[in-house]
Amino acid sequence: MMCRTDQAPDPEEEKDVDATDAMFTSLLEDSAEELYEQAPCGYLSTLMDGTIAKINATLLEWLGLERSRVVGRMRFTDLLTVGGKLYHETHFAPLLQMKGEVSGIALDIKTTGKQRMPVLVTSKVKTSEDGAPLLIRTTVFDARDRRAYEAELLRGRRAAEEARRQAEADRVRLQEALAVLQQSLLPAELPAVPGMEAASYYHTASPDLLGGDFYDLFPLDAHRWAFFLGDVCGKGPQAAAVTSLARYTLRAAALHDPDPVNALTTLNTVLHDRYTSGEGRYCTAIFGVVEPHDGHVEVHLASGGHPSALIQRADGSSDYLHTPGGMLIGVLPKATFTAARARLLPGDTLLLYTDGLTEARTGPDRTLYGDEALRTFTTTQPAQGPQALITALTGLLASFGDGLHDDTALLALGPTPLATPGVTT
C-alpha cells in the first residue's frame, strides 16, 4: 500500500529536482528578447496615433515586411485589409479608447503576395502612473486554422439548411402531387341532373396517404344517369391505382351495359384478372342507375360487398335499401352481386357512404358508431333533400374528431325537393 506523508523531502528527491531544472533551462529561451522576437504569436507596440514603435520577427515574417519599412513608418491599420481597416475604425479603436483594452477581435492582415491572413487581435493601452495613455500593446494570433474550421462549420450549416429547404420543397411537391391524384379519383363537381339534386362530400383521413374511396355521377343517355360509390381495400398509392382503375372501368362498363349487376361483374373480372398473381386488390362498391320522371325518381342499384344504401323518406322515416350477399369485388373469378330497386318521391334522399362513417368510433369508450346510429341520425334530420343531408352528415363526421380514422365518401341523390312552405325562392 502506498501512502503519502507530510515528512521532510528526502535528499535524493531534492537532487532530482535540481537536475530537471538545469535541463529545462538549457532548452528554454536564451533571453526575454529572444522570447519576444520568436514567440508563436505576433507582438507590436504602437503610439497612441497607431504608429508602429516595435514589432516582433514573427509578425514581420507573416507580413513579409522588413523591420526598417515598418517601424516609425507604418501604422497598425496599414497592416490590415480594407475590411479590417474599416472594422478597426468603427469598432476596434473606439472600444479600445473607451475600455483601455479589447480582446480576441477577428481581423484580416495583409501578407505577402496580397494574401490575407485571418488573425485574432488583443490590444491593451499602457498608461503612465497618472493614468495618461502612453502606448498600445497588441498581440496578433494566427487564426487561419480556426477561421478555416469556422468556414467549414458555416459551409456545413449552409449545406444542412439547403438540404432541409430541398426536403421541405420535395414534401410540398409530393403533397401537391398527392392532392392532384386524389382529386383525379373524384369528379371535380357533380353534374346538374334535371329534376334531381345531388350532393357529395369527401373526408380525407390522412393528407399523406391517398385514400381508396371513390364516387361518380354521369349521364348514360338523355333520360338516365349512372352513379357509383366504392371503397378500395387498403390505402396509399397501390390503393389509389385500383381506385382509378375501378372508376374508369365502371364508367366504361356502364356505357356498354348499364345493368348494375353487369357493371359490377365487369369490374370484378377486370380486378380479378389484373391482380391475379401476387397481392390481390379488392373493392366494395354500389353501382346504380337513376331515371328521373315527373314527380319521382326510379333507382336501380347493385352492391358488391358494400354497406347498404340508406333512404331518408320525406315522412321522416329512414330505411336501408338492403343488398345482402353481394361479394367483395375482385376476390373470386365469378362473384354474385345483389340488386335492389327503389322509388324516390320528392323529399326522399338516397344516401351512399363508405364505412369510414359507420366504422367510426365515438364517445369516451370508442364504441362503434354503426348503421343503426346512422339510421337514427338520419330520421332526426329534416327531410330537405340531398344537400341538406350531406351538410348534416358533414357536421356529424366533424363531431367524431379523431374517432373518424378512415377516409369517408358520401353521395346523396334525390328528386329536387319541393319548396318548403313559406319559403320563396
Binding site: 381495400c233 390481390g280 366494395t284 358488391g304 376476390v331 373470386l332 362503434l368
Partner: protein
Amino acid sequence: MSPLTITTRLAATGPVLKIIGDLDYETAPELRKALDSLSMAPGQMLVLDLAGLDFCDSSGISALISARNLAIEQCGDIALAAVPANTLRILGIVGLDQVFTILPDPATATNRDLMTG
C-alpha cells in the same frame, strides 16, 4: 393499437397460424411474410386462429384473402377460427362469410379433418 404477433404450428391437418393484435395497413405485410414461408401438402387445411385479433381493417381483409389464395394454389383449403364478432360482421358485409369456412375454434378445424381424413 396493439402490435401483431403471429405464431405458426403444424397440426396433422396442416399449418395453424395464431394471429394476435391488430391486422391493418401497417401490419398486414407481416401476415403475408408468414404465409410466404408456409408450405402445405395438397388436401391440407390452413387454419387462421383469430381469437386474439383485436382489429382488422380492409388491408387486413386483403391479407386474409391472400392466405386463401395461397391455400388454394397449393390445392388446400382454408378456415378462419374463433373470428371476433366485429370482424365477423365486416366479413358478412363484404360477402366473405360465403367464401371462408368459419369455425368456432381451431380445435374444430384440426379435429374435424383428422376424423374425415
